[in-house]
Symmetry: C2
Subunit: 368 residues, 2 copies
Amino acid sequence: MPANSAPDAPQASTFADGLESPWGMEFMPDGSLLVTERRGRLRMISADGRDISSIQGIPRVDHRDHGGLLDVTIDPAFASNRLVYLSYTKAGRGLHIDRNSLTVARARLSDDGSRIDEFKVLFRQTPGAVNGQNLGGRLAVSADGYLFITIGDRHAPQDRMRAQALAYYQGKTVRIRTDGTVPDDNPFAARHGARPEIWSLGHRNPQGAFVHPRTGQLWIAEHGPQGGDEINVVRKGLNHGWPMVTFGCEYDTCAKIGEGTSRRGMEAPLAFWKTPKIAPSNLILYTGDQFPAWKGNVFVGTLAGKAVWRFELAGEDNAPRVVRREALFAELGERIRDLRQGPDGSLYLLTDGAKARIVRVARADSML
Amino acid sequence: MPANSAPDAPQASTFADGLESPWGMEFMPDGSLLVTERRGRLRMISADGRDISSIQGIPRVDHRDHGGLLDVTIDPAFASNRLVYLSYTKAGRGLHIDRNSLTVARARLSDDGSRIDEFKVLFRQTPGAVNGQNLGGRLAVSADGYLFITIGDRHAPQDRMRAQALAYYQGKTVRIRTDGTVPDDNPFAARHGARPEIWSLGHRNPQGAFVHPRTGQLWIAEHGPQGGDEINVVRKGLNHGWPMVTFGCEYDTCAKIGEGTSRRGMEAPLAFWKTPKIAPSNLILYTGDQFPAWKGNVFVGTLAGKAVWRFELAGEDNAPRVVRREALFAELGERIRDLRQGPDGSLYLLTDGAKARIVRVARADSML
């Protein structure tokens, strides 16, 4: 412990390392961690961080560009049913071999944690795209059994308007049940020509998501273009604006995109970074007791920003406003690919890259 | 009369000439004709075709590319209220000078026909576009006072997906009242973020339109890209497919556009021309008595095709099917810019170009 730290000051230490290009992680009820690696491995890390193993039964993934095995999350009733959800990019077949689709599957983790079985694809983004960029890919399951999936616009500038088109999955959040069926009360379930799974539209590349425990609302973080990263409280059936309104601009030239930064009928973000580009990976709501001052704060991991942003909110949970924001843990100098609250209320930060680790942030007097 | 013609054979003759790049025409109850010229003149031609005059009071139009003063139509109660409707492209102001918007206005034609007054803009396509292509621009008024406007996708390949986006007017038909207000029963009138005037989506460049007198449905003709011209019976609130499904392909390369020629949730056209490109201008339902064999047929004027296509239909008016089609009047060798049924049941064909004319098609025994 550094000499200048109080006992309740947050301290960062390496919890586990040896991870290769990880993307998502999730705690299991026993405190052990599931971690995805983009090239197609699902790892399990013991609750003390000392043992790491690979889970068998993962499908082949298409890991070109930013794709591959992406997120992992668990069922609300995981303790009894052992169900996990995985997102990944899957190459097409035959003539469609150059395309890939964001795909979401459910599987059952064996009791000994060595493999997954009963693999079932729940969702596939069709048609696929010819790159592996702006994939979205984050999963969030609500306590009442809805699975939200974030989907990016797949980057191609000439196709970005698909984020506004209800006939495409690009640039959307979607909501299905954990068995893959589509809820009748989805906003476009009955609209001829619309994808019934769509929950909201007008997103660029949302790669962070959680379901708020009190409101059931989906909160997301999304990558803007050059500048214009956003946090959004997603509204059922509504239009969050990309690419019509954004606080960002085109790469390199910073040419204007769309029509401005706001417009009637387009939902404004809860928060945004005009510049610089911080590249948010995931976000969480902190509900732990270890850091009472952080309770109810939202933490956003950032890649380019190499920090974790902390947001203090005020107002009702379904109509929040930001009253304070600060960048934390910049001294780590790490791109943060995912973050979670551990069972003990510590923060766990998953770093990015070919040689990645998990950093545990805990009170100085509570280190493992 | 050619010696080889029967008395009831259709014969073409010049009704009027001296028109400069005309676009639309409409008969008034007294048999005289209103004709637009793209550079901004509204002409009136007497019922016998002999006198032609210019109507004063037309706004300045932006006639770059295919734009300018486009269509003209009259109110169902024109005989008593003298109201006319005009569509045209209008340049933006200030910073938006390089853009133009399809605009629709209403005005009152003076009793002597010399000028229009009480000019009122009813609709403006905002934001504008930086070209004057794929404008749409056809007007059709229903007997019960709804004004339909066809709007093209504005051509830019990177923007064509706007035809699928409810937040844009591009690639839509819209429906307003003849006073410019938006009917509450428009399909997206209550949808946050959608343009409330939208009646249907997924059109490329619809430049032909009529309201069917029995069903009240909007029938349109639209230009495809290279190939893929279509006739559509428009369904309220539904998706007619462009650019996701089309029978056409990209110019020059004939590269594939979208996903194919049909898809669940996308309305199929009533008829299409895969190749060659005929470029439909306008279409009408023939209801006259002069050619009994044509009654209930749909006639489509074509530009590139230099002919008028006649379609025989069967089935209910709201679920028709094509049973026969033929190209007529190809011997004229004229690009047909508009066509109308005259008060006497003759067909009037408006030709295209800087030196254009109106051709009257009538029974050989009924020539003026």
